[in-house]
């Protein structure tokens, strides 16, 4: 993957210039910090003070790009978030996307949302789990009810086509043989669920990617994998074994069982989803998560080096093990 132009080590001047282009020369940027666990993005948090009033914002910038990058470009993520925000679904308010006139980017700025995303902390206190599960299901129902025509710009993504073919395509780009993931793909090919209505799918709906505040669900984050397809994909990805964080019998992201999620989705007005359809998407999710980890290792050997990315490559074997044990019926 080709490196993007180097971002300056001190982003404050570039950020202040980008903010003043939009908010006027009186806007002052302060309290800038860089989040340390940003994954594949650079995340900056900062205040903007205008006429004596300060508000906190978040800047997210893509730090790598190239033909093997499966993630949506930031300007597309921004367009999705604008539409979802307009529909009243909890998402950080999109403020502006960087453009050619900025020294930062590609990326965008949103309002800061207060809350917790860390899975271990969220899963410690189980008292509010039924309520959170209900909010997650209700939010998915609202998301899946949006008019897919408003997101037609996602049609060109491979993931908006056949979900098995899209995974095979991504796996081929990694250029490393993974027989275990191929067994998963083949199983998916031979056990497809019945056709489902076409919806906007969040695509990365899992514990760690939503923010929980005092009032419960505060924001859905990480819109870099969104697509048009079956809403069952979001339910299955949430239930994928890797996102249970050790609470293995609470399939739905550690918050409740698979059946409880399906019931809550139905109760919120969603379609009746069969548990085996969700299981199909969980297996799809394990193949997909294995593929992402192998992809991080490719990035590592290609120069985007870090201990965590190096570990991802070898950790793929653990995901493959979970996949095979699930296909064998030993794991559920």
């Amino acid at each position: 993957m080709a490196a993007l132009p180097a971002t300056p080590s001190d982003p404050l001047p570039a950020l202040a210039a980008a903010v003043q282009r939009r908010f006027g020369s009186g806007a002052v940027v302060s309290n800038l910090v860089q989040a340390t666990l940003g994954g594949s993005n650079r995340t900056l948090l900062f205040d903007v003070t205008q006429r004596g009033t300060a508000r906190r914002y978040v800047s997210r910038e893509e730090t790598f790009s190239g033909p093997t990058n499966p993630f949506l470009p930031p300007d597309i993520q921004f367009r999705i978030m604008e539409r979802v925000h307009r529909a009243g679904i909890p998402v950080p308010e999109p403020v502006f996307a960087y453009d050619a006139g900025d020294a930062l980017g590609p990326g965008f700025v949103t309002a800061f949302v207060e809350g917790e995303t860390m899975p271990r902390r969220l899963l410690e206190d189980t008292a509010n789990h039924p309520a959170i599960l209900g909010q997650l299901a209700e939010t998915l129902v609202r998301l899946h009810a949006l008019d897919p025509a408003d997101f037609a710009f996602l049609e060109t993504m491979p993931e908006s086509g056949d979900p098995v073919a899209a995974l095979a395509h991504r796996l081929d780009l990694i250029d490393e043989p993974h027989p275990a993931l191929e067994l998963g793909l083949r199983w998916l090919e031979r056990h497809r669920p019945p056709p489902a209505p076409r919806s906007l799918v969040h695509g990365d709906f899992r514990t760690g990617n939503f923010m929980i505040g005092r009032q419960g669900l505060a924001a859905l984050l990480d819109w870099e994998c969104s697509l048009l397809g079956s809403g069952g994909a979001d339910l299955g990805w949430l239930c994928t074994r890797s996102w249970r964080f050790g609470r293995l019998d609470r399939h739905a992201g550690g918050f409740g069982t698979r059946d409880a999620l399906i019931a809550a989705y139905r109760a919120a007005g969603g379609r009746a989803v069969d548990a085996d359809e969700v299981r199909w998407w969980e297996r799809h999710g394990l193949v997909r998560w294995g593929m992402y980890n192998a992809l991080q290792a490719l990035g590592h050997v290609n120069g985007r080096r870090s201990p965590a990315y190096a570990a991802c490559g070898r950790n793929t074997a653990m995901i493959e093990y979970d996949l095979l044990m699930t296909l064998a019926g030993t794991y559920d």
Binding site: P307, A308, Y321
Partner: protein, 111 residues
């Protein structure tokens, strides 16, 4: 006599002990990466103990599974891939294995 003291396992343990010692003083991002480094060192240690994985034509196997050529002998191919996956996990993180596969880790005996 081959290499002088200390042996390879000792070299790894030395780096690992050092990371343990400095870990608590690191900023949170680096502390996390130091933990990941311990995980990487563990992999190397187990890889040395267990020896290389046997050769296998995995590109051909992956292609055969993809085109459906293994459908008729699915169970046999599945068992073969599972065994190799277990061997990989034994190096990466043996306690990830379910009890039915975990017994195999006791076979490794250095020297």
């Amino acid at each position: 006599m081959r290499d002088y003291r200390p042996d390879t396992a000792d070299l790894l343990a030395t780096v690992s002990d050092f990371l343990d010692r400095i870990g608590p003083d690191l900023p949170s991002g680096d502390r996390y990466q130091a933990l990941v480094c311990q995980h990487l060192l563990g992999m190397v240690r187990r890889e040395i103990e267990q020896g290389p994985l046997p050769d296998e034509d995995e590109p051909a196997l992956a292609r055969a599974i993809r085109r459906g050529a293994c459908d008729a002998e699915w169970d046999a191919v599945f068992a073969r891939v599972l065994a190799r996956t277990v061997a990989r996990v034994e190096r990466v993180k043996p306690d990830h294995l379910s009890p039915e596969h975990a017994v195999r880790t006791s076979r490794s005996s250095p020297g």
